[in-house]
Subunit: 337 residues, 2 copies
């Protein structure tokens, strides 16, 4: 048993969640609004990171000053190295320095990753951090897909580590004991897939401490027979965006039919309340954002068009996984033997 070595494990709740107030398409207004709501509704301490004179009414929330902003289209590496006083970098430093429990950003994803990696550092034994994204599952907690895009090229060693980190995350995030882990492939048989997938399948099948349930296919993503779905960041990103695109397409097509004439509008009035729970399940603002796994701190990346509500979800998730000792759990599973 490793002794707690991070603030969130020893004094959970005593530290605020650092919210990058300047990141995202709707920053700072929606971000500040979300941070205020999170503090009011959830009772979670929040510190806003950004330029105080640009934040408007912070409702009394503490502000950690940062004079620079990483733009959504900045080249991540150079931006993070150059903009040392950016809200993104300062948020990561607050976590590193034990002044914040976790960080949340709806800004430039690559730059958020780079900030977390450069300032917090990676956990000992981690080859490369991965982005874990929740995929809604009706009637159950979401499945965790990783890597969702941090690493366009992966080795089998990395994928095995993603499996371990994903399982630890499913435990901390959804309270799943003994999570099932699946490998994304193009057939259920272990002989199917790319050389990378076949090699990873063989390694996962022999790995102790993980419940490997075998391969899954793209069509299984929305009713996954596993809590964790492992893939390389290229395939994961394509699959995730394909999922988003097709759900959006279908929603748009449906709404167009609903709006066709008076008769369809009346029919829609009957159906919409019954479709609402489904829509809520797939609302990207409700899932709490993606999590960067493998760095020495909690970093939640909310989508670029985050609303105030998305920030509330992200703050809650950041707080909850920090309190559940996510980083210690990850540190244990990736620690070199």
């Amino acid at each position: 048993m490793v002794a707690p070595r991070r603030p969130e494990a020893s004094a959970a709740g005593g530290l605020p969640v650092a919210v990058d107030a300047m990141g995202g398409d709707n920053a700072p207004a929606e971000i500040v609004a979300g941070a205020r709501l999170a503090a009011q509704e959830l009772g979670i301490d929040v510190v806003l990171v950004g330029s105080p004179d640009q934040l408007g009414d912070t409702g009394g929330l503490e502000v950690l000053p940062a004079s620079e902003v990483v733009a959504m289209d900045d080249d991540p590496g150079p931006a993070v190295r150059r903009k040392k006083d950016s809200s993104l970098v300062r948020a990561a430093e607050a976590v590193r320095d034990g002044r914040a429990l976790a960080m949340v950003s709806a800004g430039n994803t690559g730059a958020a990753m780079a900030s977390a990696l450069l300032r917090m550092g990676r956990l000992k034994g981690v080859v490369r951090p991965a982005i874990a994204t929740p995929i809604p599952q009706l009637g159950s907690h979401p499945a965790v897909l990783l890597d969702a895009g941090a690493n366009a090229e992966c080795s089998a060693t990395m994928l095995v580590q993603f499996a371990l980190m994903g399982a630890a995350y499913a435990g901390a995030r959804y309270g799943v004991e003994d999570p099932g882990v699946a490998l994304l492939s193009i057939g259920e048989e272990k002989s199917k897939g790319s050389p990378l997938v076949k090699e990873t399948h063989a390694k996962l099948a022999q790995l102790d401490g993980i419940r490997f349930v075998g391969n899954v296919e793209g069509r299984d993503l929305l009713h996954a027979p596993a809590d964790v779905i492992v893939t390389d960041g290229f395939t994961g990103n394509v699959a995730l965006k394909t999922l988003e695109g097709s759900l959006r397409f279908f929603m748009d097509a449906l709404l167009e039919v609903f709006a066709a004439d008076e008769e369809t509008k009346r029919a829609a009035e009957v159906l919409l309340p019954r479709l609402a729970p489904l829509a809520a399940e797939f609302d990207p603002d409700g899932v709490g954002g993606a999590m960067l796994l493998g760095v020495d701190g909690v970093c939640v990346i909310s989508h670029g068009s985050s609303s105030a509500r998305a920030i509330v979800s992200a703050v809650q998730v950041a707080h909850d996984v920090a309190c559940a000792g996510l980083v210690d759990r990850l540190a244990r599973v990736v620690a070199p033997a």
Copy 2:
């Protein structure tokens, strides 16, 4: 100008389409029914390939006898090598020998590919054949995605060839002149993606005779800014199955809401006729199946659960692309310089 060297280019319509009567979950009944319908409705000559005493009433269609059947779960390579008198192998031989214009099968996809490859041979210059699959686009012809799963591992040279073959196919299948070709990646910028994708992007950008429109992402698949979308067979298969799975998920969820009670059933009655055109657009039985590109003959692979209607579509597509000189078009674009 290359002289026509295949029956379909010189005597289109003079030869029948060979339909593998024994392949598919619903074989032979649905396959035979589809072949009969195709002959009746479209006036296309069809020859059924299979065991005559198992086919029931063929409605006077010619039968090419084949005593063996490749099962849906047979290991493709060994099955095709062992079952020399299978309907799949005999259908491919009929094309090779100039006795059929094209072949259609709803059977084992891997075995259909292997039969076509081993019996028809690959076109001169082709590194590896690819499977091209139509992705519906509202208000336009489908986009062609390739490779949809024939090659789990690809080189940039292969992807460039897929681009050329996909463009030739879009021309023959949909009459598109100067088709736009896109590369599936995880960002629009040429700096995004795996090493394979970056290398392919650079090659396509410099390639004469193709209109390369750059990278597309998973979310673009249903409103693609291109006629052809190129990817490796692993990513393509995952993306396609993710698309199928999410559309099916959404359809099922919608139908469940429609069936909830008397009020929703009445509302559904108003909406269903207006949703029908959309459903038809995405009906896998209507798109005509996937096409194996790069072999010396036309081979259409219909999905395993093909109905009679799916076979009608597949026969039509097989006939049409053969008459449009698909194989000659492909031969020209892949011919070694």
